[in-house]
Symmetry: C2
Subunit: 234 residues, 2 copies
């Protein structure tokens, strides 16, 4: 397997994916066309708009980006692709559409067979065990919260630390994940913006300049430094 | 019908429900025992802990608060109650438990028959058409997102305005609700902390000192002042 699971497509002040350009060049080495899965529809934009927005970013590294919605048979599109990118947006919308188009198994198979995969935000979320730890609004009802289970834990992208001066009474991210562990035992990785997981064969490493926050059931949350190997999490 | 649907139980710097004490005295006039639905389990605490935390607040206004989990038959508990309060926490957990215990119809019936009802946060959310506009983390998978449909719109409690100086790339609340309207047509009321809806028979009014933000499908979002009647929203 060869994956990059990023917390966000864009870091503050940067252009889409620019902070990952070197990694993408390496991930998609020898790949000339990447299949884009635009189902998460950020801001409700159309699949084609979303694809068009990202085409120039991939053109810069010599790659043609083609939306899965442009293919008559999306299952075949995945089976034949030599590289896949699932963009961010709404995780519920994304997972709903993957189930609707019967793409869960084909995607799992392609990724496990070594097709290089990039996920950002929602596109990373779906590589966890379930989407129970997404931050997104549940604007559609998917047939299940079960996800691709490429990694043996859940992700929480755009992880944000409690704001010490906040007067807002909504739950902090940490509280929400603690509530999750009242019902489930799998670990959750809080990936801050600018962090990503790099998966090479069976190795899963934290990358980027920041630490990540790990939530294990019945343990106090803790930080792991960049370049930590996450294979110990089962 | 007689309801108070509050954005939050607690406003910054205050004690639980203290800002609503006068309204609760009025809502529960002549009621000596209120049935508490603690299913939303904030922070994952137990039903009994949650009930114990709130008992003193109700004792102050001469009301005995009794948790629905203390009854052998929760359907009967609702049917026989002379006042109901559903507390905040996780909306998915709350709705899951209501479906599991087959309480959706009994609750609708009790509220429509005039049993006074207080909801805070998740307890307000469930009185909308669906829980598609909750801010909560989807830590459990309910059999449906359909809610009690007491009001003909959706709620977004703890509504928070975009933070102009934020460097965080996660979606703003307004963006999330815009995404919701890519799939649904019902209005959404963004209820700020300290605001509540007061429903008396067929009248639904915004109360508290703040304005609320209304999101209607295919319209620019707009503010409504406190004391606005919301009956125009269908």
């Amino acid at each position: 397997m060869k994956l990059i699971l990023a917390s966000t497509s864009t870091i503050y002040g940067g252009k889409s994916l620019s902070y990952l350009q070197a990694e993408l060049t390496e991930l998609y080495k020898n790949v000339t066309e990447v299949l884009f899965i635009p189902y998460a529809r950020p801001g409700g934009i159309s699949h084609q708009e979303y694809t068009n927005n990202l085409k120039p970013v991939f053109a810069e590294i010599g790659i043609n980006l083609k939306g899965i919605h442009e293919f008559e048979n999306p299952i075949e599109a995945i089976e034949k692709s030599s590289g896949i990118f699932t963009g961010g947006g709404n995780t519920f919308v994304l997972l709903y559409q993957l189930y609707k188009n019967e793409l869960i198994l084909p995607l799992q198979k392609a990724i496990k067979n070594g097709t290089p995969y990039l996920g950002t935000s929602a596109g990373s979320n779906i590589c966890g065990l379930t989407i129970n730890t997404t931050n997104d609004m549940p604007i559609v009802y998917p047939p299940s919260f079960k996800a691709l289970s490429i990694v043996p834990f859940n992700l929480n992208p755009h992880y944000i630390d409690p704001e010490p001066n906040s007067k807002h009474m909504g739950e902090t991210r940490e509280t929400r994940i603690k509530e999750f562990h009242a019902y489930h035992t799998q670990p959750v990785i809080g990936l801050r913006e600018g962090s990503w997981l790099e998966i090479n064969s069976d190795d899963c490493m934290l990358k980027g300049s920041l630490s990540a926050r790990v939530f294990e059931s019945n343990k106090a949350p803790y930080e792991i430094d960049t370049n930590t190997n996450l294979n110990y999490l089962k």
